[in-house]
Amino acid sequence: MSLARRSASVEFHQVTKAYGQVIAVRQVSFVVEAGSLVTLLGPSGCGKTTTLRLIAGLEMVTSGRILIGGDDVTRLPATDRDVSMVFQSYALFPHMTVLENVCYGLRASGQPRDRAAAAARESLALLGLSGLDERLPSELSGGQQQRVAVARALVLEPRVLLFDEPLSNLDAKLRRRVRGEIRDLQQRLGLTVVYVTHDQEEALAVSDRIIVMDHAVIAQQGTPSELYREPVNRFVADFIGDANLVKGTLERTDARLGIVTLGGLRLSLPHREMPEGVVDVAIRPEAVRLDALDGGNAPLVGTIQKAVYLGSHMEYIVDSPVGELFVIDPSVAAPLPAGAKVAIDLDRHGVTVV
């Protein structure tokens, strides 16, 4: 199967979708490059699923334009868009066997039965589902159902493949594996994939680019590392990875950098055009270094409130003059006990003015 040559870009130009007074998507513009995997990420009700359904043609825009592969598809219904979707509930037809489910789209587009069956078997094999042809969906495990849903969407060689929270019905171990499989498949076949999730870890793991949505608008878009390292606002900082949001004061030193004061600590950071004075600062949990303080002194001193041993790392809650900090520490050999006084230092790569 070579889908790469069929994969197409998706473009949104100033798209708005309103249901009466309620605006689900407001003036959204973005581009999904052909052959890339882009995640729509955000809390529930942020408009990400509506955006996905707008791409599919299951909803029609109120205003704006949608282009797939450069063609204007704004007014085309779902049937004509050459886009396939994997539903959160999988939406496998319960009265059809696995093979009938996968054949469905091919038969609907007029392929003869034997050719459709051959293509369907190939697609099922691609997803490691050979031999389940005659089962009914109710006779499959959750993971198998999910893969049947993917096979059913893939067999049509769509220009764009859409995933609506495809992992939410799977258990955690399976989730990690299946998301890896989806990413492999996407890269192997060069698919254009738009993927909706509310799980930031999932988004970071699979995406070429992430579009973070909040309250019907795009909060930020970029590569996973851009979003993680340079969140544009408190919302993104908090949503992508954990972040401790504290207050600091900013003095500009040049066109790019400034000095941020946090308690007794002074860090040189990009000021990102923030006004001088009190600013919000986002601190990643793994950017905080804790050292046991035996009677000495340090610029910033805190007290361990809680210490949790998680095998691969430690999690601490630390009380400090700038506020409560959540800390992840990879050194588990000599954990700090609750109640201990610690010197707090920050790695400036995990600290951002927002």
Partner: protein, 715 residues
């Protein structure tokens, strides 16, 4: 890019305009005799000849407008072309309607006109779809437009004719004062029964009866549905058949049977007098009798609705409740029952409305307890012949029905009851709580027995010389009705009933699939699509159910006896009457079942490149089989057993079984009437069984409950 749909419909319209006879042909279009006079004779000429040769120039715009979209063919998908289609179709339709009403001296519209109108409707809907209506889906847009057009012509237009009669005096002038005095009269709204022995107004009587019947049939229907699907009751099949019996019975037959049992000369009455010395009385005539007969008649409606819903409740939800530490009782009351709620509301609504519109049972049994349908009937056929009063009474009835409809929507609210989801749904329904099981058995079984007794009475009645007087065995009623002579020259159908029997089967067989199709299509539009004016659409499609058959009958005669749509005396008017009378049953069954199928299944099908039509055929219909069976069965048997509307519409060529039987009853020929009824009932049992087998049961791949086998257990 040339749009094939537009081209095809424009071509069809143009061809019909040029070739097919525009007006209706006297002997019917399927006789070939008219071809001899074609195309010159103005009775059979196509529209183009009518216009150019016979000076009916006003027909020209219809043809031109159906061709207009071809001008825009070259244009790409866009607003301009959409507007052309929309305007040409709309103007064409409006023109055909206006010229039909405004220009007298024309015959009724015929096959040519019909095809041109269809083509205009299609062009209009394609235009609407391209303007974004129905999510841009042509099938959806066309379906909405067609259903709407049919409902307008065959429900609203006739009813409007009748309602106009409510505010007109004999001379045709406006008479609002007369309307108000009739409307506010004590005969309708009086409350004297609360304070004295005088009866209440007919409106209160009807509502009280309707509420009583609605509640009773819903409770009984639920009991039957639970026993039939959730218990290990040994005779479930029999139970299913038994409950179907009353709907395959012409309504007045149940009334007659109730009289045979409880009337002054009835079996129970005679026994009570003999055994306990209770003097025979006429207590059954009035509320008790009508209630009993209606509950017998309409419980199966509730059962048919509820069985689909009870079966559709996802076992995993109930299993989830059980794992959440809910006992059987709690699971039932907090999960199963609320999930059945849409079905309960539908069943109650159907029972209430059926009771309101029922005509046969009150006719036989109501005595002094007057109800609306009977009052309307007598207002028209009685000595008074007061069309205005009948119209006023039917307005009252309409208000009640719409009230019930509104209440149901309010009560159901906006909760989602989707229980057949796209995920595989394995699991077992839990057993019913003991109390519920006991209650279900305690109500369903005696009622089933009672029903059986009623039917034995009917069957027995046909084989005796004369009921109540001479109980000797006799076949004379059967030979009189269904005698067959086998002679050398072939079989001769000598029985008096054969003619009406064959007609009834033919008409019902044509009407049933049409009714199911229109009903389920409407349900699909209501549940699965969102479009402007949907609520009005829903009310409009349900309206024909709210109107008693009597009014429908009268209104069809008023509306379709004269051009432009001339149908009286044909079989078509009977078919149309059945389709639009019975369509709401299909709609209701479809809505109840469809709201339990998760939407993502349709959406998946759409994104897989299937059109709406394919989606309906391959995904929705297979999952809707119980509703499809219900709609087919119900529309067929209702067509075979209907009486109130069709007594006005039958003609010498098209006499129906029920109107024939009523004629026999009027002549006092009870034996033949009951014999005929028995034959109808047996015939319809066979048909129902055949349809159920043909359409089959839904395949969901749920686990079958483990059957406890007694074999192999040591004694």
């Amino acid at each position: 890019m040339i749009d094939r749909n537009v081209l095809a419909w424009a071509a069809v319209g143009a061809a019909a305009f040029l070739v097919l006879p525009w007006y209706a042909i006297e002997d019917g279009v399927f006789t070939v005799t008219w071809l001899a006079r074609y195309p010159g004779d103005p009775a059979v000429a196509p529209a183009v000849v009518q216009a150019l040769v016979h000076h009916r120039l006003w027909l020209l715009p219809a043809g031109l407008l159906s061709l207009a979209p071809i001008v825009g063919l070259g244009a790409r998908h866009g607003r301009g072309r959409a507007t052309v289609l929309f305007a040409a179709g709309g103007l064409g339709l409006a023109w055909v309607a206006v010229q039909g009403f405004a220009i007298g001296g024309q015959p009724g519209i015929g096959i040519g006109g019909l095809v041109v109108v269809t083509s205009l409707l299609m062009l209009f809907s394609i235009g609407l779809a391209e303007m974004g209506f129905g999510n841009g889906d042509r099938f959806v847009s066309a379906a909405i437009v067609v259903v709407l057009a049919l409902v307008l012509v065959f429900v609203f237009f006739p009813v409007a004719r009748v309602l106009a009669a409510a505010v007109r005096d004999d001379g045709g002038g406006l008479a609002l004062g007369q309307f108000w005095s009739t409307f506010s009269s004590r005969e309708i709204w009086g409350l004297d029964c609360l304070t004295s022995r005088v009866g209440c107004g007919v409106a209160w009587n009807t509502v009280f009866l309707g509420l009583l019947v609605g509640a009773s049939t819903t409770a009984l229907g639920l009991a039957f549905a639970l026993v039939a699907t959730r218990t290990a009751f040994p005779a479930q099949k029999v139970l299913r058949m038994l409950t179907v019996l009353p709907i395959i019975t012409p309504p007045f037959v149940i009334g007659l049977a109730v009289i045979l049992i409880f009337g002054r000369a009835g079996a129970v009455t005679t026994f009570a007098e003999w055994a306990f010395g209770i003097p025979a009385s006429r207590w059954i005539y009035g509320l008790p009798g009508v209630w009993l007969a209606q509950v017998l008649a309409f419980t199966p409606v509730a059962f048919l609705v509820l069985i689909g819903v009870v079966e559709g409740v996802s076992p995993s939800l109930e299993e989830a409740a059980q794992t959440l530490r809910a006992g059987q009782w709690r699971t039932f009351t907090t999960v199963s029952l609320p999930l059945i709620r849409p079905g309960l509301a539908n069943a109650f609504l159907l029972g209430f409305i059926e009771s309101l519109a029922d005509f046969g049972n009150p006719l036989v049994l109501s005595g002094n307890y007057s109800v609306l349908s009977i009052s309307i009937f007598f207002a028209i056929v009685g000595a008074q012949h007061d069309q205005a009063r009948a119209a006023v009474l039917s307005i009252v009835m309409l208000v009640f029905t719409l009230g019930a409809f509104y209440a149901q929507r309010r009560w159901l609210g906006r909760r989602s009851y989707a229980t057949v989801t796209g995920k595989g749904d394995a699991g077992l329904h839990p057993p019913l709580p003991r109390i519920v099981r006991g209650l279900a058995y305690a109500t369903a079984i005696p009622w089933a027995v009672f029903t059986a007794v009623i039917y034995l009475m009917i069957l027995f009645g046909g084989f005796v010389e004369a009921w109540g007087r001479n109980h000797h065995f006799s076949l004379r009623h059967y030979t009189a009705a269904f005698g067959v002579d086998v002679t050398d020259s072939g079989i001769r159908w000598t029985g008096a009933a054969w003619n009406s029997f064959w007609t009834t089967i033919e008409i019902s067989a044509i009407a049933a699939p049409l009714t199911a199709a229109v009903g389920l299509l409407t349900a699909y539009l209501l549940v699965r699509q969102r479009f402007r004016g949907q609520t009005a659409f829903e009310v409009g499609t349900m309206l024909s159910f709210a109107i008693p058959g009597t009014i429908i009958g009268i209104s069809y005669i008023l509306a379709f006896n004269t051009p432009p749509v001339e149908l009286t005396g044909t079989g078509i008017i009977l078919v149309i009457c059945f389709v639009f009378r019975n369509m709401p049953v299909g709609v209701r069954a479809g809505i109840a079942a469809m709201s339990q199928i998760d939407r993502s299944l349709d959406e998946a099908s759409l994104t897989l490149g299937a059109r709406s039509l394919t989606t309906i055929r391959r995904v929705i219909l297979p999952l809707l089989r119980p509703a499809l069976v219900a709609a087919l069965v119900f529309s067929f048997v209702r067509a075979m057993t209907a009486i109130s509307a069709i007594v006005f519409l039958v003609s010498a060529n098209y006499d129906m079984a029920t109107s024939y039987i009523v004629g026999r009853v009027e002549n006092g020929d009870y034996g033949l009437a009951i014999a005929y009824c028995s034959v109808l009932i047996v015939f319809m049992i066979a048909v129902v069984a055949a349809i159920e087998r043909l359409v089959g049961r839904r395949r969901l791949g749920r686990r079958a409950p483990a059957t406890v086998s007694l074999e192999g257990i040591p004694a």
